[in-house]
Amino acid sequence: MGSETLTEQRPPNRPVELARSKSSTLSYSALIEYSENWMDDSFQLEKSQVLLDEPELIVEDDDGDIQPRHNTQDDKREPVNIANLELADSQYTCDELLMNITSPTREVVTNEKRRILWPKLLLAGHAADKLEKPGSLLSTPSVASHANFSPDSFLENLDCVDLPPHKDEDQVKLDIQRSFTMLSHIQSISASTNASPSASVNVSASAGASFNGGAGVSASASASASASVTSSCALSSTEMLEKGCSSFTTIISPSDIKFLKKILSNLIIKVLRRYPSLNYYQGYHDIASIVLLVCYDSKHAELTEEDIDQDLAFSILEKLTVFHLRDFMISEISLSVNHLRLIPAILENADRQLFELIKQTSNSFLMSSGKRYDYIFLQGLSSILTLFSHDLSNLSHILTAWDFILSYGSVFSNVYIYSAALLVFKSQIWEKLSLSSQAEEADFENVDPDAVHAAISPAALFDGINDKQWNLVLIKAKALIEQQQPWAKKMENSKWTWDKWFVEHNPHSVLLTTSAIDAPKNESFFAKYSNLLDPDNHALSELVQAQDDEVTKQTLDEIQEQQAFFAEEDELNGSMDSSEYEYHSDTETSNINSLSSSLTLNTSSSLYKITSAGAIFKNLFSRNHDDEEKKLVIRNKNWFMSRNFYKFSIAVGVIGFVIHFLLIKNGSGQFFYRQMLASSAVTEIKNVIGDVGVILGNLISTPQTHSPNVLQVGTGTLRNTLYGIGS
């Protein structure tokens, strides 16, 4: 089969393919037709551009990429495509793409195709369309000047310069300097490596002819790794890779990269200035750079501004940001942590042993002597925040991951991919940790948590991953999604995982709104949310505000839960002997301290937080006050006291945290406090605060001994802060 490909001249390739995979061609043109429905007159220009692009697309494919397929495969693929056709209408793009990605004999998705598919999947054309109106900042240039587009005039017209700078622009600048490392990587390989993979796979040889070294290296890796695999699989994966990389082979000169960085900077800043309520995070630049690369259409040997469709890039990134990445861009990072928590939760249902390993080496488990597990899983952070663009070094892998995620229309698939990777590489992880491979082994008490951290981190997981493995990961991810979704209905652990973190606490998360995995992504779905893209409307900033409040509430709830847990523990273990009790509560407290500071600090990054925490605190108390008046008469006085004391303790805790925030976060105040604390009084203050807990503890050493303990948490945190600052 390979030889056929090799000898075949390229021009006939495409027609053969067109004739063969009729259905895919059909859906492709249907897709364009579909897009027409959403485009009003102002978008006709763009559409005709798209249509004009099509012949070009074929031509370019012909000289750029090979299509090593032959007729015997057609029979296999045919049913798949027919199935796609049946699903036509609104979902076929997703299904087609998805089927394709996860089928062993997949078709290549070119970037030309992505430039059409991705905006559709993101409903990019549509949402913008809704917003078109005179005077709207962005719409005017993006519509009117498409035909004679000039980036300079575009930027000027765009007025992104006129918009006030975004607070995170300094960070953006720093990260831009470190962007496109992947391209420079490819560049360095292509300089040093001669891409001539083993001759056993014929396709690779032809790959070497037209593709850069990066592709060649991976191709040889996949060739050797897939020696035992059916040739069709090896074939298709090589083919994938070529397609993925082909468009970027020309943009690897240092000056090109410099140029790309400039465009990237414009792109990111444009989006941020337009949506000032969103916060930039490190890793967002990786996302934007992938968008930019997909919008790059190589026409010339040298990179020029015309080669990058910046309007399209903006449109894609904008939708991706607002609809899918929003959770990562609110003030707090704890919502991103919620996303990550889904990974162990998915594994809990899929592979108990792997779950136990992660659980038993987690911070919360170790610090509570195995009594609590909070599912916090930070290892996948960079992959989740960047949709894998930070961690995969093979561009085509990134692009297929994005195809996968976008075709589900949900970043939920993100955590599924990571979980799937852990499952696929389980034996590797076990090997690294020298664990016995016995299936029933589930005691990992003696495993080094740091070694586990390293083994399940993206760096280890995705290091040298080949096409076949990555394909397996995506297939596994798809299977997991089919098994587990909708989670709330199918999964046993939903009650204390998904339901709690998202349905109950964060109903405005993208996972339940704009990036919901089970929502049909049709016109009416996005019509519902299109106002988020309107800069004149405060829908987005209100939404972000609401999400901030939700996640703060969650953090506070979790602290309380944690304190209640330790109070309970204390009650169970605690002795009535007061001296023993004191000793016990002291050690226990420092435990709680560290745990609760872990939670609180999640909320510590802005002063805004303090006010909203204060608001919640006020609610807690005003309700409390009502209680007091109404129930005072009928309540047993003792019980009442301890109950309120308990609340009071929590209140002191919250106040403690608030003061802590003030001390830490308020730059100018900090100096004052430090000065104050630096005086000799500091030790006394510390002592007093330390003692307050004990005194109050003695004061109310009723059977409800948990109250003083909780109080100590608050004072403990204060103490913590004071030590930090005083020392």
Binding site: R178, Y281, N720
Partner: protein
């Protein structure tokens, strides 16, 4: 820990975004430098075995962290059990110098170390290879102000390094290793539990504080 097996010392590198934390770690562990390190997201570590003092062999586990403030609150997951903390700044970026104190404070709050008052820190000013004209004006004076400030000053050893040209990196990490070893032994003597009660820890170690560094 009482047994004379391999000693593992956990070191955390902190500092503003872009000061060169990853470069320092890479230069020390792998003896290489690249302009192209990706921005660090989350935290990761590398280990290196070195000999200190009387040929004692220790393994340094060096944690490289994200510089963006946004990720700071996640530190609690990574700082646990740290034996030494490296505070980095960029000699061309004054803000990164001024932020050292808040990095230190945040570290102490999150790591919950047993001896916050004499926990070993070290300061590294990176990028000394850069042209003098770009450096912070009167850096030494400002540095002195920060390290010798009576009010919560950072009275710690200071190293000026270039991860790019491999200047002073080894020397700095050797001191890191020594300080970390001291801390580790302190913890071991203390029962080996990093979560020991504060008051005890303070009372016991106050006496030895002055000898522990600088």
């Amino acid at each position: 820990m009482s047994s004379r097996k391999k000693t593992l010392l956990k070191v955390i590198i902190l500092g503003d975004s872009g000061v060169g934390k990853t470069s320092l770690m890479q230069q020390f562990v792998n003896n290489k430098f690249s302009q192209q390190y990706k921005a660090t997201i989350g935290a990761d570590f590398l280990t290196k075995e070195i000999q200190i003092d009387n040929n004692k062999s220790v393994t340094l586990q060096i944690w490289d962290t994200a510089g963006q403030e946004r990720f700071q609150s996640l530190g609690v997951a990574f700082y646990r059990g740290a034996d030494c903390c490296v505070l980095c700044f960029d000699v061309t970026n004054e803000k990164s110098l001024n932020n050292l104190t808040s990095w230190k404070d945040e570290f102490l709050v999150q790591s919950n170390v047993s001896n916050p008052q004499d926990f070993p820190f070290i300061i590294i000013g990176n990028k000394i290879d850069v042209d003098d004209s770009k450096k912070i004006p009167s850096l030494q004076k400002k540095l002195h102000n920060i390290t010798h400030n009576q009010l919560g000053g950072l009275n710690y050893p200071v190293f000026e390094t270039s991860a790019k040209d491999s200047v002073n990196v080894e020397a700095a990490f050797e001191v890191v290793a020594k300080m970390a070893l001291q801390q580790e032994e302190l913890n071991a003597a203390n029962g080996g539990d990093v979560n020991d009660d504060y008051n005890d820890a303070i009372n016991i170690h106050l006496g030895s504080e002055s000898s522990s560094c600088c």
